[in-house]
């Protein structure tokens, strides 16, 4: 991340003492289907906390419970010492929510929508300033139905932010955006955090989570399978990865005999070995000794995407297949 080590550790010291959201043993069922199954995590003040997982993993259900839109079957949620259900009126005053799959009246104009939502809050932000920040002031007089996907998303974010929230929940907000709009949205989320708000970001894009989030909760089939910084989760991908093309087929047994190799993946002519130590040298060394030449070598560290695939795959192989909601 971009911040220095010192300020990082100071900030984390400060944050450690002050979780703004605490979720404990959260369970939510829809009939027989368990959407969220015993999930616990806490979110610190001023961080961008990512909730990641495949589609239908239970991410949205979890944040809907936090925002008080759904009633959990069991477990507890605590936001600044308040309950999302009992104290929902108070919490709505400082929690901004951007909902997935929610539209607006087609003929409502951008400026009108924002002024209207400003009127819903006791101490709103300046609607015009917010339109400016979000880069949609030029479409202020356009109706909702005339907006592009990116503009709709930005308006949706603006509506979530117009109440000057201390905590903003943003659900799949870059889905359907082009790459440029996604990057602009990322910058925006960072600026929300820099203004002192805590951001809860729901996403299924690993690059987004890796780039933006201070910490991540990885949810699969309703269960929490990892909770850490993106770097620490990425490290669970199993360390270094070396991909190459051998001059003739090499069987698994020979590959596993190479020092440091822990896992092997094969795709077409490519072989990828995952492991630790001086992997490139030991692969070349061992294979040359048995007369196999190695070409097209590519080495890199494991990233969040690799970890995600690995963790969700391990988890899925353990868990019985369940119907998706």
């Amino acid at each position: 991340m971009s911040r220095t080590q010192i300020s990082d550790s100071l900030e984390s010291l400060h944050r450690e003492s002050d979780p703004v959201v605490t979720v404990q043993h959260l369970v939510k069922r829809y009939g027989q289907f368990v959407a969220v199954n015993d999930v616990s995590f806490s979110i610190k003040e001023g961080e961008i906390f990512g909730i990641i997982g495949p589609n239908g993993a239970g991410k949205t259900t979890a944040v809907e419970c936090i925002s008080g839109l759904r009633v959990p079957d069991s477990g507890s949620i605590n936001i600044h010492g308040l309950s999302p259900l009992k104290d929902r009126n108070v919490i709505r005053g400082f929690l901004g929510v951007q909902l997935q799959e929610s539209t607006m009246p087609p003929r409502l104009k951008v400026g009108e929508a924002l002024r209207l939502f400003a009127s819903f809050h006791p101490n709103p932000a300046d609607p015009n300033g917010l339109l400016e920040t979000l880069g949609i002031s030029h479409v202020k007089n356009s109706t909702y139905k005339k907006l592009s996907g990116g503009q709709k998303q930005r308006l949706s974010i603006a509506l979530a932010l117009v109440g000057n929230p201390k905590i903003a929940i943003l659900d799949e907000l870059t889905t359907g955006l082009d790459p440029e709009a996604r990057r602009e949205t990322w910058a925006l989320i960072e600026s929300i955090r820099d203004h002192g708000a805590t951001v809860i970001l729901v996403t299924h894009f690993m690059d987004e989570a890796e780039r933006l989030c201070d910490r991540l909760a990885l949810i699969n089939h309703g269960k929490l399978i990892a909770l850490d910084t993106p770097e620490a989760i990425a490290a669970q991908a199993g360390g270094k990865r070396v991909r190459f093309v051998p001059s003739k087929p090499v069987d698994d047994k020979t590959m596993y005999a190479i020092p440091g190799v822990k896992e092997i993946e094969r795709k077409e002519a490519y072989v990828t070995v995952i492991g630790a130590g001086d992997l490139v040298a030991s692969v070349i060394d061992s294979l040359t000794r048995i007369g196999v030449h190695v070409s097209d070598i590519e080495a890199r560290g494991g990233n969040l995407d690799d970890a995600f695939v690995k963790l969700t795959r391990d988890d899925t192989s353990k868990v019985q297949e369940r119907p998706q909601s």
Partner: protein
């Protein structure tokens, strides 16, 4: 921040109703289907019956009144049916279906304020329709009414209550906009018939007339008919509307969902 917390603790923030009403009004003007039905349809009927009244000056069944005089209450009820049964519930169900009510529910202002704005807007349109029909029929088409103000106010308040609460029942029970449109469409024509638009209950007679008198729109038309000729509305018509309103309000509040 602290002030926000204390503001909300004392009583939930209610937003600025005028802003909400203004936005709902603008949206109604931009999608004028509801306006056309609620105000336009009664005006068309007024013109038709007005022309009949002038062309066939008459004395309906020896009462000394023209066809227009007799139909003025029905035309007003038609306006209330259009706004209350068609316009109101379809808009509310659409707002629910598109997640608009849900989105509002994440703000400090309760989504019931949006419902209140829709009700107020349709109420204002209903009052406009009623004034247009009363003054239009008298000043343009020479209807000879003798509106008894207290009777009329009572009848109008009950007529609006019964039609709007029936609309809210549709909004509460219809799971989607398609079903809401179908349901309100069916109720729309049924209510038009029972109000006596095609044939008046006094002409029909028999059990059908009884059904009409004891239906929401039929009772409304009957109460209004008495009150535009300065007579007390029949107790049966008043009681019918009170009972239906209570029943509809109970169903609507019990089953209404915000998402």
């Amino acid at each position: 921040m602290t002030s926000t917390l204390s503001d909300s603790k004392d009583g939930r923030f209610q937003g600025h109703f005028a802003e909400l009403l203004k936005v709902e009004g603008k949206l109604a003007l931009r999608e004028p289907a509801g306006l056309v039905m609620g105000i336009g349809f009664p005006i068309i009927l007024l013109v038709i019956f007005g022309i009949i009244g002038i062309a066939v000056p008459g004395n309906v069944a020896g009462t000394g009144h023209t066809v227009l005089d007799i139909y003025v209450p029905v035309i007003m009820v038609v306006g209330l049916i259009s706004l209350g049964i068609s316009s109101l519930p379809v808009t509310l169900v659409r707002y629910r279906e598109m997640g608009w009510l849900r989105r509002v529910s994440t703000t400090p202002t309760p989504p019931s304020r949006l419902l209140a704005a829709q009700l107020t807007l349709n109420l204002l349109l209903a009052l406009a329709t009623i004034l247009i029909v009363i003054f239009g029929s008298e000043l343009v088409f020479g209807a000879t009414l003798n509106v008894g103000i207290p009777y009329f106010v009572l009848s109008i308040v009950l007529s609006i209550s019964v039609m709007f609460s029936l609309g809210l029942v549709v909004a509460a029970l219809a799971p989607s906009q398609t079903i809401a449109s179908a349901l309100s469409g069916g109720l729309f024509f049924l209510s038009l018939f029972l109000s006596g638009l095609w044939i008046q209950p006094s002409t029909v007679g028999g059990p059908l007339a009884t059904i009409m008198y004891y239906s929401p729109s039929g009772a409304a038309a009957q109460a209004l008919l008495y009150s535009v000729f300065n007579a007390a509305p029949p107790v049966t018509a008043v009681a019918t509307m009170v009972v239906y309103t209570g029943f509809f309000a109970f169903i609507a509040t019990r089953y209404f969902r915000w998402e």
